[in-house]
Amino acid sequence: MSAVGLAAHQFRFDQKVFWRNPASVFFTVALPLIFLVIFSTIFGNDTIEELGGIKTTTYYVPAIVTLAVVSATMQSLAINLTVDRENGILKRGRGTPLPKWVFFAGRIGNAIVVSVLLLVVVTAVGRVVYGVEVPWDRLPAVFVTLAIGAASFCCLGVALTAAIPSEDAAAPISNVAVLPLYFLSGVFIPETEIPDGVLKVADLFPIRHFFEAFFTAFDPNTTGAGFEWDQLAIVAIWGIAGLLLAIRFFRWTPRAQ
């Protein structure tokens, strides 16, 4: 099998495993949609004057897309790689001729495909159920944001496994890493309700910048192509830092032995 063929082979089985696992489908695919419905129901069709009078639902579509991508990339990888490491599946893989990069290509490919799918589904639900405009003119900005964000959060997810000592700790640690940031960064609560000082704290971390890039790309009031290069640069720097940490600290063998 050629290298690309081998990566496709690995990806095909990673997809099978993903879709047959009820927990991964629920937390990664269903939960963001549930959040979209809950937040839209609670905050209704209010408008946010500070953001040019957009509807709250218009605000929540890019917010939930942000959450969905972080969940499909960083959280899924951190949890699944840790579980596989502790169960000896990674170690066994290292004992086969499978090159390391092919293994990661399959996993990351899986995370990115799920991210694209969720972007499409959340946007479609926003359009059909809440009448939120699809940013057809700014699709390049949407997909560039997705590509940079998904790649960066994949690297952060792989790096995060180094901080997770056991299978049981995987879900709690990866949730602790993101849940507070969803609140601080304006993903769960509109940023206009959040004090400036808090947003400054959120600015230290990548989720806020990733969300701002998506927001600009989705916002109907945006003029121009909607690229937030400054925000994306910060997300990418986090991603590169994650990559370096991952290369240095990623382990293939169980830690809790």
Partner: protein, 304 residues
């Protein structure tokens, strides 16, 4: 004689100040099942993982299939199969899919159906790994190690935690591997298993090999005194003194001898003359387990 599949000489492995492996020499021949026995913490898994290419050594030379395993190449990985001490299978994939996944990693894998048959899982081919029993999972594990058609298989304590019937079935699978011409390096602390499966056995204790040989020869087992045990109803007062029977536990008599054939002849002749029944008559050589316990009890049971 064919070249050995594994040669180690003066193999050392230290973790900081602790020497887990203290100079091991061994050879595993092509096509043999080699059992590596030892208590927990004796250095079994460390040695095995050095051979498998998972761990660097700190001294000595090692050659596995013509290569130094400390720098494993893809080509070398094609030629070995590994069953780890602990490894779960993906519960979401079926037996067939699991083997298809791993088969894709190798240039010339075995046929899937054939491999499933070798490990006795044909009836379970379409079942998800999550629904298999412990013994079935372990056999799938061996199937995964076998799928690349390796020359050498490593099995690290494969039957730990098995019930006796699952263990028997598993032994059948190992016997199959031998018939396929595979060399097998097996670690275990089950003596029965080593006795049944292995062509040769090495016992490791505290990082050193303390005995090596065919399972029936180990520790001069064949030349050691045998023990003859029996009970006699109505007493054995007139038993010939030459037999030197000692009273053992629960009314048993025991004769320890280096010539059991002569002694048995005399003993049974005496019993026939008097029409006495020799109840529970048995002749016992020291078992592999006796030898093992004797050899490993001297060494401290280091913790890893």
């Amino acid at each position: 004689m064919a070249t050995p599949v594994i040669t180690a000489s003066g193999l050392h492995k230290a973790y900081g100040d602790f020497e887990a492996v203290r100079g091991i020499d061994l050879e595993v021949e092509t096509g043999e099942v080699f059992a590596f026995l030892g208590p927990n913490g004796a250095g079994k898994t460390t040695t095995t993982e050095i051979f498998e290419g998972y761990r660097p050594r700190t001294g000595g030379t090692v050659n596995v299939l013509g290569q130094d395993p400390s720098a494993p190449t893809r080509e070398w990985r094609e030629r070995i199969g590994i069953v780890l001490q602990q490894c779960r299978m993906r519960p979401e994939l079926t037996v067939r899919e699991t083997l298809e996944l791993y088969a894709g990693y190798y240039r010339a894998p075995l046929r899937i159906a054939e491999t499933i048959d070798h490990v006795g899982l044909t009836a379970k081919a379409g079942a998800r790994a999550g629904s298999l029993s412990g013994g079935q999972l372990r056999r799938l594990d061996v199937g995964v190690a076998l799928i690349g058609d390796p020359e050498l298989l490593f099995l690290d304590e494969p039957t730990t935690g098995f019930d006796p019937s699952a263990r028997r079935q598993f032994w059948g699978v190992i016997a199959n591997l031998k018939q396929l011409g595979k060399s097998v390096f097996l670690t275990t602390h089950n003596m029965d298993e080593a006795q049944r499966l292995a062509d040769r056995v090495a016992i490791i204790a505290a990082g050193r090999i303390v005995a090596e040989g065919r399972p029936d020869e180990l520790g001069d087992r064949e030349r050691r005194p045998a023990s003859i045990r029996f009970r006699v109803n109505g007493g054995a007062q007139d038993l010939p003194a030459a037999l030197r029977a000692r009273a053992g536990s629960n009314g048993e008599l025991e004769i320890t001898t280096t010539s059991p054939v002569e002694v048995l002849h005399e003993l049974t002749g005496w019993a026939l003359d008097r029409s006495v029944e020799l109840e529970g008559l048995e002749v016992r050589r020291p078992s592999l387990e006796d030898i093992y316990l004797e050899l490993t009890s001297a060494a401290p049971d280091d913790d890893r």
